[in-house]
C-alpha cells in the first residue's frame, strides 16, 4: 500500500502545482484556439507550441534515461478516423463550455460558478458515452487505418529524435522569424501574481515531465468523470450500471514506482485510474483555490444568465462524450500525445480546429448577449 500512497501524494503535489500555474496565467487551451478564430490572436497558440516542443524534448529525455522502450502508448491506441469527429465535437464543446476539462477544474477552484455547470455536463456526457460505447467501438475498429502502430516514429521506422529535432528546428525558426508573437503581452507586470502564458508553458512542461516519471504517462483526468458517473449510477440505477458493458471494461496500468500492474477502468471501483487521476483533480482545484486566495482574489463569481449557463452545461456534456469517443481529451492529446507524435493526437488536432471554429460561430449566434451577435 505504501508505494500507492506515495504515488498519490506526489500526484496531489503535481496537481497543486499545475492548478496554481494555470490560475496565475489563465493558461486556457480553449482561448488558445477560440481567440485565434475569433480575434486572430496567436499569443496563446505560441505558448502551446512552446509547451508541445519542450514536452517533446523532456519526454524523450525521460524515455531515454529511464531506458523504457515506450510509455503512454496504449492510452492513445491505433489510428482511427472517428478520432477526427471526436476531436471536432470536443472543440465545439469546449468553446460552448468556456473551458476544457482541466480549465473547468482550475476555474472551479478559483470560484467560477459556471465551471460547476461544466463539471456536471462532463459527468453527464461520460454517462451518455457509456450508452453508445458498443456501437462506437465497432465504428472505431471499422475506421482504423494504417499499420497498427501508435506513433509516427513507429509508423515510419525512424528514431523518435528525428521528429523531436524537426519540431525543435521548426519552433526555433518561428521564434527567429516572429519573436514578437512569443513575447509576453506588454503591461503584464501590472497585475500582481500574473504569469504570462509563455512562462506558464515552460513550467507546465516541467510538470508534464514529472508526470511521465511518476506515472509513466502524461497527465489525464477524463476517465475519472466516467468513474464519477458510474458511482452515481451505482447509487441510483445499479441494475443498469451492471448491464452497461463500458463500465465493465478494464485494462492493466503500470506505474514505475508501484510493484505489479493495477487494474484500471471507468467502473465504480478504486483502481489505477483513481490512484492517478483523483489526486490530480483534487490537486488542480485546490492549487488554483490556494493561489487565488493567496492573491486575495478568491470569490464566487456572479451567476450567469440562463442562456450562458445552458451553453456551459451542453458544452461540458459534449466534452465528456467526445473525450471518450476520441480516446482522450485535449490535455491528453495535445499535451501528452503531440510531443510523442501520436497519430491519434494528430487526428484529434485535425478535428478540434474546425470544431472550435464552429463552436465560436454557435457562441456568437446563440449564446452571447443579443447586441453582440453580428
Amino acid at each position: 500500500m505504501f508505494p500507492v500512497l506515495t504515488t498519490m501524494l506526489l500526484g496531489l503535489f503535481l496537481g497543486l502545482l499545475a492548478g496554481a500555474i494555470m490560475q496565475r496565467s489563465d493558461f486556457c487551451m480553449t482561448a488558445t484556439f477560440r481567440d485565434f478564430f475569433l480575434f486572430r490572436s496567436t499569443t496563446l497558440l505560441a505558448s502551446l507550441l512552446i509547451l508541445v516542443t519542450l514536452s517533446a524534448i523532456l519526454f524523450e529525455l525521460v524515455r531515454t534515461l529511464a531506458g523504457t522502450e515506450s510509455f503512454a502508448l496504449p492510452v492513445f491506441g491505433v489510428p482511427s478516423l472517428v478520432t477526427v469527429f471526436g476531436g471536432g465535437l470536443f472543440g465545439v464543446g469546449m468553446v460552448l463550455a468556456g473551458g476544457c476539462v482541466v480549465g473547468t477544474l482550475y476555474r472551479l477552484g478559483s470560484g467560477s460558478r459556471l465551471a460547476l455547470w461544466a463539471l456536471i455536463g462532463l459527468i453527464a456526457g461520460s454517462a451518455l458515452y457509456a450508452e453508445i460505447h458498443p456501437f462506437w467501438s465497432t465504428l472505431k475498429k471499422m475506421t482504423s487505418f494504417g499499420p497498427q502502430t501508435v506513433t509516427l516514429p513507429q509508423w515510419s521506422g525512424l528514431p523518435p529524435w528525428v521528429f523531436v529535432l524537426s519540431l525543435m528546428v521548426a519552433t526555433g525558426l518561428l521564434i527567429f522569424w516572429r519573436p514578437q508573437t512569443f513575447a509576453p503581452l506588454p503591461g503584464w507586470r501590472e497585475m500582481k501574481g500574473y504569469i504570462p502564458p509563455l512562462y506558464a508553458a515552460l513550467a507546465l512542461a516541467g510538470v508534464g515531465a514529472l508526470s511521465v516519471i511518476l506515472y509513466g504517462r502524461s497527465l489525464g483526468v477524463t476517465t475519472s468523470y466516467a468513474k464519477l458517473a458510474a458511482h452515481l449510477e451505482q447509487l441510483l440505477i445499479p441494475g443498469h450500471l451492471a448491464a452497461t458493458p463500458f463500465f465493465q471494461t478494464q485494462t492493466p496500468i503500470v506505474f514505475p514506482f508501484v510493484p505489479g500492474p493495477l487494474i484500471a477502468g471507468p467502473g465504480p471501483t478504486f483502481d489505477g485510474i483513481a490512484v492517478m487521476q483523483y489526486p490530480l483533480i483534487i490537486g488542480i482545484i485546490l492549487g488554483s483555490a490556494l493561489s487565488a486566495w493567496q492573491l486575495g482574489e478568491w470569490r464566487w463569481s456572479a451567476a450567469a444568465n440562463w442562456r450562458q449557463t445552458s451553453s456551459v452545461l451542453v458544452g461540458g456534456l459534449l466534452m465528456g462524450l467526445a473525450s471518450r469517443m476520441a480516446a482522450g481529451c485535449n490535455i491528453q492529446h495535445l499535451w501528452g500525445g503531440l510531443p510523442i507524435f501520436s497519430v491519434q493526437s494528430l487526428l484529434f488536432l485535425a478535428g478540434i480546429l474546425p470544431g472550435v471554429w464552429l463552436g465560436g460561430r454557435l457562441l456568437i449566434r446563440w449564446v452571447l448577449p443579443e447586441n453582440l451577435r453580428r
Partner: protein, 83 residues
C-alpha cells in the same frame, strides 16, 4: 482644465469571451470622447482572464489602460493614449 468624465461599465458573470466583447463594444461606443480625453471608462469585472485581454485590445486601438484589484473583482480603467 476640463474635468474628465468617468463612465462606468460593469460586466459580471459572463462566459468567455463575452466579457471582452462587451467591453470592446462599450469602448467603441465612447471612442471619440475617449480619444479626446473627455471620458475615462471604468470597466468592472470578475473575470481574471479579461484583465489580460481587455488592456491588450484597447492598447492596440490606441488607448491606455490600467488594471486594479477591488473587493469584488477587477477595475480596468481605459483612457486616451499617452501620445
Amino acid at each position: 482644465m476640463n474635468k474628465v468624465k468617468i463612465e462606468k461599465f460593469d460586466v459580471y458573470g459572463q462566459v468567455c469571451p463575452s466579457t471582452l466583447l462587451l467591453a470592446l463594444r462599450e469602448v467603441n461606443r465612447l471612442q471619440d470622447e475617449l480619444h479626446r480625453g473627455e471620458v475615462q471608462l471604468d470597466i468592472r469585472t470578475d473575470n481574471r482572464f479579461a484583465t489580460a485581454t481587455i488592456p491588450n485590445a484597447v492598447r492596440n486601438m490606441g488607448f491606455d489602460a490600467k488594471v486594479r484589484k477591488e473587493e469584488d473583482g477587477y477595475l480596468i480603467q481605459v483612457c486616451a493614449g499617452r501620445d
